[in-house]
């Protein structure tokens, strides 16, 4: 578990930790890169959309033989879809779209107590590994 301050470029720390976790699981380099990019985008979303008074984002990395699960949790006002501020306008809403391309499963749960983005990357012969990176069926 990692608690990040909402601060410019702290998402890079999250990506480095993800890299270490993936390396521990002997994940191939392409998958590591995808996981890093996905967690960067999830952190940026959390930083921007959360409006969290705590000024922190909580990350969890869960490793099992079949998959890596990544949780990015803020304590903000809840996810507002395509809305957002200046950064949102600049990134043209690509953040969530890229996350959906980069990992196998994405779940977003949001409410008054914040938002959690759960991302799953299956390893080896996991359920979605053959379709890794394919767009969300929605």
């Amino acid at each position: 578990e990692l608690i990040l301050p909402i601060k410019a470029d702290s998402e890079v720390v999250a990506a480095r930790v993800a890299e270490e976790v993936a390396a521990f699981a002997a994940v191939d380099a392409d998958t590591v890169d995808r996981i890093k990019m996905a967690i960067i985008e999830a952190c940026i979303n959390a930083f921007e959309h959360s409006g969290a008074e705590s000024g922190k984002v909580r990350l969890r990395y869960l490793l099992s033989p079949e998959k890596i699960e990544l949780f990015v949790q803020d304590e903000g006002k809840g996810f507002r879809g395509g809305g957002g501020g200046e950064e949102s306008k600049r990134n043209r809403g690509w953040g969530l779209k890229l996350i959906r391309e980069l990992v196998d499963d994405v779940e977003i749960s949001t409410g008054d107590r914040g938002t959690t983005v759960r991302m799953v990357k299956y390893l080896g012969s996991g359920p979605a590994s053959e379709g890794a990176g394919s767009p969300d069926p929605e």
Binding site: D33, E41, I44, E101
Partner: protein, 117 residues
């Protein structure tokens, strides 16, 4: 913590921009600034070299899309080179790859510019 490094050089009539480190909003805005400066000075051939690019985020990509649009508006020619596999995929996912030729090496890209003189 700063990752901002934008090196540039002129290779004949091609303006080459080296994107080293983390292509976030700060870095991309700096790239945009030097590219627009080159266009304003009459440059029309631009090459973005991604060999040193370790990470890219969606804001960086969006600013690159802005750069592509501005170069196209001014009838310029843009190419990318030395993209890692993930960076190439990111440009494919966002549709940028449809508008910009990408080359493995800088020399190949410069050869393409020579042919399109």
């Amino acid at each position: 913590m700063s990752y901002l490094t934008v090196r540039t050089r002129c290779a004949e009539d091609v303006f080459v921009v080296y994107i080293d480190g983390y292509l976030n909003s700060l870095m991309a805005e700096e790239v945009e600034r030097v590219v627009l400066e080159s266009l304003d000075a009459g440059g029309r051939k631009l090459l973005l070299n991604f060999e040193g690019t370790r990470l890219i985020n969606s804001i960086g990509i969006s600013i690159i899309i802005d750069i592509v649009e501005k170069i196209m508006e001014r009838n310029g020619i843009l190419a990318f080179c030395a993209l890692s596999r993930i960076n190439r995929e990111l440009f494919q996912m966002t549709g940028v790859a449809r508008y910009v030729r990408a080359f493995e090496r800088e020399e190949e890209a410069l050869g393409y510019f020579r042919q399109s003189a």
